[in-house]
């Protein structure tokens, strides 16, 4: 019996989480370019509480992995291609990201104000 209730509660929690808070309608798209193993821009400022989408364009010949431990994202982007990374509304603060394959040069930060 308690198990059933627990399952129902879990299901309810899941639905709630899956639907999430009111989805942002036209989330802002920010273009982030990788060139010569560097991010341009390497500093992005966004407003707190607003979701956005990073459109990461890799203009190098080599693949890169966009990785951010702070944002919980990792995504491989092949050379001369692009990929989107959707980020939900963030708390104010600094969120670092790197290109994992060229960590010495490919790094940047998202500043949420």
């Amino acid at each position: 019996m308690t198990k059933k209730i627990a399952i129902l509660a879990c299901a309810a929690a899941l639905t709630l989480l899956a639907s999430g808070p009111l989805r942002a309608e036209n989330a802002e798209v920010i273009i982030l370019t990788i060139k010569d193993h560097q991010f341009q821009p390497d500093r992005i400022e966004v407003e707190a509480g607003k979701g956005f989408t990073l459109l990461v364009k890799n203009e190098d010949d080599t693949p890169e992995e966009f990785e951010s431990h702070d944002l919980r994202r990792e995504k491989v982007i092949k050379g001369h291609s692009e990929a989107k990374v959707k980020i939900k509304a963030l708390e104010p603060g600094e969120y670092k990201f790197v290109g994992e394959f060229n960590e010495d040069t490919a790094k940047g930060v998202i500043v949420v104000k």
């Binding site: 989480l17 808070p21 010949d61 080599t62 693949p63 919980r72 491989v76 994992e100 960590e103």
Partner: protein, 272 residues
């Protein structure tokens, strides 16, 4: 070269640890090593294919193909690990008493050694595809070929050494307890993978991770080597979210409950 070494090592490490656990968990079972070898070879082939089609996968499912792919691969591995544990628990008694009779079952019934071979294959494929992409990029850049080869080989070797250390460490456990330990390791491995899958599902905008529960990165950074080892083995996350914790706990609970139920059926009370 150092950069290449570190990246390859980091990627190999996870797969190597998983292989170490799987080898220990199947100790004494007939043809276990062959199954693991098949898993590794299949995984490498899969890694090359995934790397080749990374662009296609990435563009699929309105740009979330890679995320969904990664989540699916992880969840499939979770199911295989759970299945293995449940099956092993139904042979717990036999196992301690007489490995050969279990071996008989494995041989005759096509028992789920391939479940673990799939786990190995998926792990190698997931980690390997990144290595392939990275090394390809490095090898094709100016003067990078030497770095790619030397860094790649050393990084791989170091990763394998760590996996082997885990394997031989586990083998020191007396057989009587070994399978109890590996059953726990496999359950924790599965729970960690389930939590990791949640992060990919969130990245694909399928679920919401919910609030962050704590930040223990000052104690053990997940990106450090030790942090990475714990991340693989027990699913350590330095900043876990609500959904990740739920997935972790639910997986662990399900596997433990299922194995107990099956074990009880196989060994009715009184015959303890």
């Amino acid at each position: 070269m150092i950069a290449a070494l570190i990246i390859v090592f980091r990627e190999v490490l996870e797969a190597a640890l998983i292989i170490g656990i799987v080898l220990a968990a199947t100790k004494g079972l007939p043809r276990a090593k062959q199954w693991v070898a098949i898993g590794i070879i299949g995984g490498i082939a899969g890694a090359v294919i995934v790397a080749q089609f990374a662009g296609v996968i990435s563009d699929a499912l309105s740009g979330y193909g890679l995320e969904i792919f990664n989540a699916s691969v992880l969840l499939l591995a979770v199911v295989m690990l759970a299945w293995h544990n449940v099956w092993m628990s139904s042979h717990g008694k036999q196992m301690a008493a007489d490995m050969r009779s279990v071996g008989e079952d494995v041989r005759s019934g096509g028992r789920p050694l391939y479940a673990l071979a799939i786990v190995v294959g998926l792990a190698v494929m997931r980690e390997g595809s990144e290595i392939v992409l990275f090394l390809y990029g490095l090898a094709t850049s100016d003067g990078g070929l030497k770095d790619a080869v030397s860094g790649g080989m050393i990084g791989m070797a170091v990763g394998v050494v760590v996996g082997a250390a885990l394997y031989f460490g586990l083998l020191r456990i007396p057989t009587r307890y070994l399978f109890r330990v590996t059953a726990w390791l496999i359950a924790l491995l599965a729970a960690g993978m389930a939590a990791q899958a949640m992060a990919f599902l969130a990245a694909a905008d399928v679920i919401n991770l919910g609030p962050e529960l704590w930040d223990s990165s000052f104690l053990l950074n997940e990106n450090s080597v030790v942090g990475k080892v714990f991340h693989t083995l027990v699913g350590y996350v330095d900043r876990p979210t609500f959904m990740q914790a739920i997935a972790y706990a639910a997986t662990l609970l399900l596997i433990i409950t299922a194995t107990h139920l099956v074990a009880r059926q196989q060994n009715p009370a009184g015959r303890k």
